[in-house]
């Protein structure tokens, strides 16, 4: 428990440091902003004035403090492309990304763990071989390509599902599956190997000798032991979803944080880039922190 507190404190320090690094890196490219935002005929004085108005000529730490101060007041500045308030824009994008991200996380564990368990239980069966090879392939198919294939078959050819945009569940199916595919494959692999590993542990023999049913041994004891490594790496799954969301949202025209960030980078809309970058750093950091807290709570040795 003590070590947990230490982890939390250190994580927040690192979060502060890394967000400052990201903030600084993006701010320091502010020179580009003047080039992108001012007409080519602008004089050096105009540029200087612009930088001054934007607060770009102050020390970076001060800029960061000012930024955080405004952030906590809910003032995120305006987009350079359409002058919209970022705070209004962000609420909608965050909501959309949360829907997609949470669905994908559910699919990763909700499909990955049961499939991995069945594969381990029926090892060397056709089911196991099929699942195992599919997961090797699943990890090798880049997910933007998987997206295109899925769109081609399910939208263009079969017309079952929309290829892009947002609206009911129908619009969620393809992006969520594509986004979670690699995570599912990895989770299947990990669950399978952890289950097989634990099935060979001595404690399984003890439980059998005590007369416990196979079902109980498998679903309570072996499963609980096998979930530990999966929990400890769940933070990576969060990161993976966030990373791939940048690509998948763009392909499926899913109006979320990922798509907005990529578009903002392409358009050099740096106030938007700034906010969404920091947001994603925060999400990934919290995801990892949640996983290590979960691991501590799930592991009797650390919990005590």
């Amino acid at each position: 428990m003590r070590s947990l507190l230490k982890t939390v404190v250190l994580t927040f320090l690192l979060l502060l440091a890394s967000s400052l690094a990201v903030f600084a890196a993006i701010r320091l490219s502010g020179g580009d902003v003047t080039a992108a935002r001012l007409p080519a005929s602008a004089t050096a004085a105009d540029r200087q004035l612009f930088r001054h108005q934007m607060g770009l000529d102050q020390p970076i730490l001060k800029q960061y403090a000012t930024y955080l101060g405004k952030l906590f007041k809910g003032d995120l500045g305006n987009s350079l492309t359409n002058s919209a308030k970022i705070s209004t824009l962000a609420v909608e994008k965050i909501k959309n990304s949360l829907i997609l991200g949470a669905t994908s996380m559910l699919l990763v564990f909700g499909i990955g763990i049961p499939l991995g368990m069945i594969a381990a239980l029926k090892r060397n069966s056709w089911f196991d071989t099929g699942i195992t090879s599919a997961s090797v392939a699943g990890m090798a198919v880049p997910n933007f390509w998987l997206a295109l294939i899925a769109i081609y078959f399910f939208s263009t050819r079969l017309g079952w599902l929309p290829s892009a945009g947002q609206g009911g569940i129908k619009y969620l199916v393809l992006p969520a599956f594509v986004l979670s595919a690699e995570g599912i494959a990895l989770t299947v692999r990990m669950t399978r190997s952890a289950m097989l590993d634990n099935l060979n542990q001595d404690f399984v023999r003890t439980l059998r000798a005590a007369g416990l049913s196979e079902r109980r041994i498998y679903f309570k004891h072996v499963l609980r032991n096998s979930l530990l490594p999966i929990i400890s790496l769940a933070g990576l799954r969060v990161g993976q979803i966030v990373g791939y969301a940048l690509v998948v949202e763009t392909i499926f025209g899913w109006p979320g944080v990922g798509q907005s960030l990529v578009n903002a980078v392409l358009r050099r809309d740096y106030p938007v880039v700034q906010f969404f970058s920091l947001l994603l750093v925060l999400v990934v950091t919290l995801g990892n922190l949640a996983a290590s807290i979960g691991y501590t709570l799930a592991n009797p040795k650390l919990r005590k």
């Binding site: 542990q201 001595d202 404690f203 023999r205 003890t206 439980l207 059998r208 000798a209 005590a210 007369g211 416990l212 049913s213 196979e214 109980r216 004891h221 609980r224 032991n225 530990l228 009797p300 040795k301 005590k304």
Partner: protein
Amino acid sequence: MTDEPLLDIRDLSIGLRGDGVGYDIVRNVSMSLYPKEILAIVGESGCGKSLTALSVLALHASPPLHITSGSIMYDGRDLTKVSASQMRAVRGAEIAMVFQDPMSALDPMFTAGTLLTSAVQAHHKVRYDVAKSRALEALADAGIEDPRRRFGEYPFQLSGGVSQRVMIALALINDPKVIIADEPTTALDVTVQAQILDRLKELRAERGMSIILITHNLGVVASVADRMVVMYTGEVVESGMVEEVLATPQHPYTKGLLGAVPRLNSDAATLVPIMGRVPQPNELPPGCSLPIVAAESSMSAGPIARILRYMVTP
């Protein structure tokens, strides 16, 4: 001692079957356990003691190991032929087992209490508090000082000795007629070993249980067991009352074993090493009976120092 054995293993053979290999590791083993007796199985490491014991409760790794012939009679039934659910009813409730390495034999994710109450509930439809009070009793019966505290502890919080007592509590909890203890003290230090063995002896007296005790240690056999079976390369080479076997060993291997035990009144220089090494079953020529490596053999010493080590350390 009645004439009817409680557990009767007849001509049991256990084979290893896999791609390209197929030979019997345990061959034509017979032994009987009578009510209220302690039967010791002794023999060199790897000779098939554990495998024989595990096969009684169908706990051997199958595949690749299979019972190829023979029977294990218990209570009028052949345990090699019962269904999986019938076997489950026997495990822990009729015949219980205690394993060698208590530290790895307990599930690290659950408390001793959870383990014990699940064992009760695996055999009896009782409420949790009933199961819990039985668990506390069993912990006390196994010689644990503070059952309430241990009940809530996880395996990593228990010492080796306490873990082994938890294993014994687990074996006792459903009041079985037979306990098979597979080298229950090998992983423990000497004082704890003695306490655990004493406890097993007392339990036999208090509850009239029968115990099969697998051990490397002839000293333990002499002080605890009534009868003994000597195994060598997968076969039983000698059996009988402990005093008789130890006093007048018939088989060269047994003689060798005895020769290798240091006596208090002799010094280490007179230890007689057993020459050669234990052949693996697949190295035996087909149809050939057991090759005997006797104390008299003049073959140069192989890794038999291993045996000596087992014999010298209690």
